[in-house]
Each structure stands twice: as C-alpha cells, then as structure tokens.
C-alpha cells in the first residue's frame, strides 16, 4: 500500500513539473464559457453526493467518481 501511495505522489509531482514549461493555449479571456454555471462539473454538491451514495449502496463498484460521492449499502 505504501508503494501505491508513493506512486501516486510521484505521478502528481511529475505531472506538475512536466507541464510547467508549456505555454497555456487557451488564454484567460477565452475561458468565459467555463464561468457559466451550466459548465460546472458539480453544480449542486449536496445533490450529486446523494445520487452517488444511491449508486454505491446498490452496485459493487466504488470510487473515481470525480466530484461525486458514495455511501451506505442498504439491503
């Protein structure tokens, strides 16, 4: 398990270091679409967390739901 944690940290650091010298190709003034609420990846956290809690209670899979949640296993 420690190996997995180290691997994840190294991957994150490499990603950060590798990207730092590349010029951003979408300029700040071109990003107005992302400020629109309809583009939010998780517009309503209380709602998305709940529905992912429903999924995790009834499905074998779990994790990697990004901005989503998980939870109890109701019979």
């Amino acid at each position: 398990m420690k190996t997995a944690a180290r691997f994840l940290c190294i991957l994150a650091l490499l990603a950060a270091a590798g990207c730092s010298s590349v010029e951003p190709w979408v300029k700040p003034y071109e990003r107005q679409n992302f400020a629109d609420p309809i583009m939010a990846l998780d517009r309503d956290p209380v709602s998305s967390a709940y529905i992912n809690h429903v999924f995790e209670a009834r499905e074998g899979a779990r994790g990697a739901v990004g901005s989503h949640g998980g939870g109890c296993g109701c019979n």
Binding site: C19, D36, I38, L41, E56, A64, S67, G73
Partner: protein, 376 residues
C-alpha cells in the same frame, strides 16, 4: 445494518475537488429532501450542507445527513423480518487556499444502531499551466465498528484506506476533461452479519437451506474514470463519463453516463441524463451453493452478483426572486431518476419453482431529490 460500505465522504461534498484550485467556492447553503423507493426498500430524509469562507483563504463546510430506512427487500423478506432503521451522518471540512494550492481536511461520522463509521480525509489540489490544469490527490482513512442487534457479544471492525488522484484540463475554450483514479483497501469484517447464503439441501422441504455468508477479510479495488464537458454554441452543455472498476474479489464493472444541460430564459436550467452500469459477479458469489460450506468464502449479496442497471434522469432548477437581505441569490431544484435493475444470476425465490429454476430477480426504483439552495 444499513451501512455496509464507506461513509459518504465529505471531501466529495466540499471544495477539495474543484475545477480550479485557486478559488474557494462561494458561500452557500443547501437543504435537500431525498427519497429512494424500489425493491421493497424506502429510504428518505434530509441533507443540510453549509459552506462559508473567511478572508478568501479559509473555508468551512458542514453537512448533516439522515437516511430513514424502511426495508422489506428481497433479502429481508426471504431470510428475516422487515425492519426500520435510521442512519445519521455529520461531517465537517476545512479548506485552506495558498496561492494556487488548496488543502482540505475533513472528518465524517456515521451512526446507526449497529454500525459506526468514522473517516478522516486529506486532499491537495494545485492549479498549474496558466490555470488550464488542476492536479489533485488525496488520502482517506476510515475506522468502522460493526455490531449485531440482539447480540451484545458481537463486535467487529473494519479499517479502510483510500488513495486518489485526479487531473482536470481545459482543452479548448469550450471543452474540459477530467481523469480520476482511486484505490481503496478494506480490512476487517466486510460481510453483513445478518445476511445468509442458500445451498441445496434435499432434506429440507424447500429443497434448500441457509447458512451465514462468509467474505474474505480484505478487499482492494481500483477505479479509473474519464469525463468531458462541452459547451455547445447555443449555450447548453453536454457531458459524458466512463468508469472502469476492478477489485480483488473478481468484480469488474463498467459505468457510462451522458448528461445534457439546457438553460431556458434567465431563470430555468433543465437537465436530462442517461446512465448505464454493468458488473460481473464476485468469484465467491452464487445464488445457490451445491452444499453447506462448499467453499471457503460464500456470498449471496445481489450487489456482488452479475447484473446491470439503467437510469434515466430529468431535473430542473428555478432561480427564485426572494427579497431577503442576507441572500444574494437562491434556487429551487427537483430531480427525478428512474432506475431499472436486471440480475443475471440472482433468483427471486418467492416466485416458486425448483431450487435454481426460480425467476431471475429484477426491480425498478424511483429516486427523488428536491432542494433549496441559497448563496449568501
């Protein structure tokens, strides 16, 4: 026991998985009523989420959540008696912004009469690349206590660890993508102390009998997902997501989801979505074992069987015009989800027939979310 897995982690509700790490989310309160009705199970209750930032650098998020369960599920009616149960969960998270980095620490406690779950999470996210990219990673540790009603001697525990990493990337002025990976390990008492498996027993009138299920005491799972969200030229959004899952119990699962979001006038946002899920059974799952103690590990939990489900979602959000001094804006939202579950190797033993020839189980569920959101 209504809990069998990790508590709803607050890091998923809080500000620790942002599109941009350099800004804390707005001050906001949400009051939600949720209801799930399907397969003989009804679960409803409230959820209250409040988050507030201080000096633009610090943020606090708190959540109180309740599940009120009334269960007469297929598992319950065939091996036990219908029951009512309540689970309450409280969470608190602290966020700190330092330049383009954000640090989050959260604690969650979940309580019910026969189960207690506590978890602590730490997450870091960092904007890089002229803020086109956000990299995040985090770790959670969970400690569960498992009890059994009517048996004061029974006390077991579960130790959980979760490692996660994610990247979100703005690719074009209208398209963003995200990648996530999460590893979860569990160690301890992982089965349900009330659930049984069935096995062929020619001596019994029904032709089968029951024995308690036995799970391995460790489980490690890997999940990886990719998602994209695209801004359509006429001001609407289309998003898609795919997740692959595999674990050491032999379960493999695929999840695919597509959502379309359409604003109408300045007040309405409509949303429609489709979600598909399919999984293979755990290696030690069987609907009907050939005899008692036929293998080391035994499971007949339908969540570990081979099955699929589909979900259709529709929702609407309406911008209110409340003239309250402390509210900058407020919305009312309603979402309805229709789910259909189809099992390939879990049989409805109430349908009758010789053991192993009963109808395969299937059910539909209705899920409602109704909530008020206020920004202050």
């Amino acid at each position: 026991m209504i809990r069998a897995r990790i508590a709803l982690p607050l890091f998923l509700l809080a500000a620790s998985v942002p599109v941009h790490a350099g800004v804390l989310p707005d001050d906001r309160a949400d009051l939600l009523y949720h209801r799930y009705d399907g397969g003989g199970v009804t679960i409803d209750g409230p959820s209250l989420l409040v988050r507030k930032k201080f000096a633009e650098k610090y943020g606090v998020t708190a959540n109180y959540y309740v599940d009120m369960v009334s269960s007469a599920s297929i598992d319950v009616v065939t091996t036990a008696s219908p029951y009512k149960e309540e689970r309450t969960q409280g969470s608190v998270a602290f966020d700190m912004l330092n330049g383009k980095s954000q640090y989050s620490l959260s604690f969650t406690n979940s309580e019910e009469s026969d189960y207690t779950a506590n978890s602590l999470s730490f997450d870091v996210s960092q904007d890089i690349f002229g803020d086109l990219t956000t990299v995040s990673f985090g770790f959670s540790r969970g400690w569960d206590e498992v009890r059994r009603r009517g048996d004061d001697e029974f006390a077991e525990s579960v130790d959980r660890r979760t490692y996660r990493i994610g990247v979100s990337q703005i690719l074009t002025p209208s398209l963003m993508m995200g990648l996530s990976y999460e590893l979860v390990t569990d160690e301890g008492f992982l089965n349900n102390p009330y659930r049984s498996v069935r096995y062929l027993d020619p001596g019994s009138p029904a032709g089968y009998a029951y024995q308690p299920e036995i799970y391995p005491n460790t489980r490690t799972s890997n999940a990886a997902s990719v998602r994209a969200r695209y801004f359509l030229p006429y001001r609407a959004a289309l998003s898609g997501e795919y997740r692959y899952f595999a674990d050491t119990w032999g379960i493999g699962a695929h999840t695919a989801e597509v959502t379309y979001t359409h604003p109408w006038t300045e007040r309405w946002i409509f949303e429609v979505g489709l979600r598909f899920y399919t999984q293979d059974a755990a290696d030690f799952y069987s609907d009907l074992f050939p005899y008692a103690d036929s293998q080391n590990f035994l499971a007949r939990d339908k969540e570990l069987s081979t099955f699929s489900n589909q979900m259709l979602s529709v929702g609407a959000t309406y911008e209110l015009s409340l003239d309250w001094k402390f509210l900058q804006r407020s919305t009312l939202s309603f979402f309805y989800d229709r789910m259909q579950f189809t099992y390939d190797d879990f049989r409805d033993i109430t349908s009758g027939g010789a053991p192993g020839t009963e109808s395969l189980y299937e059910f539909d569920a209705n899920v409602f979310r109704f909530f008020f959101s206020g920004w202050f």
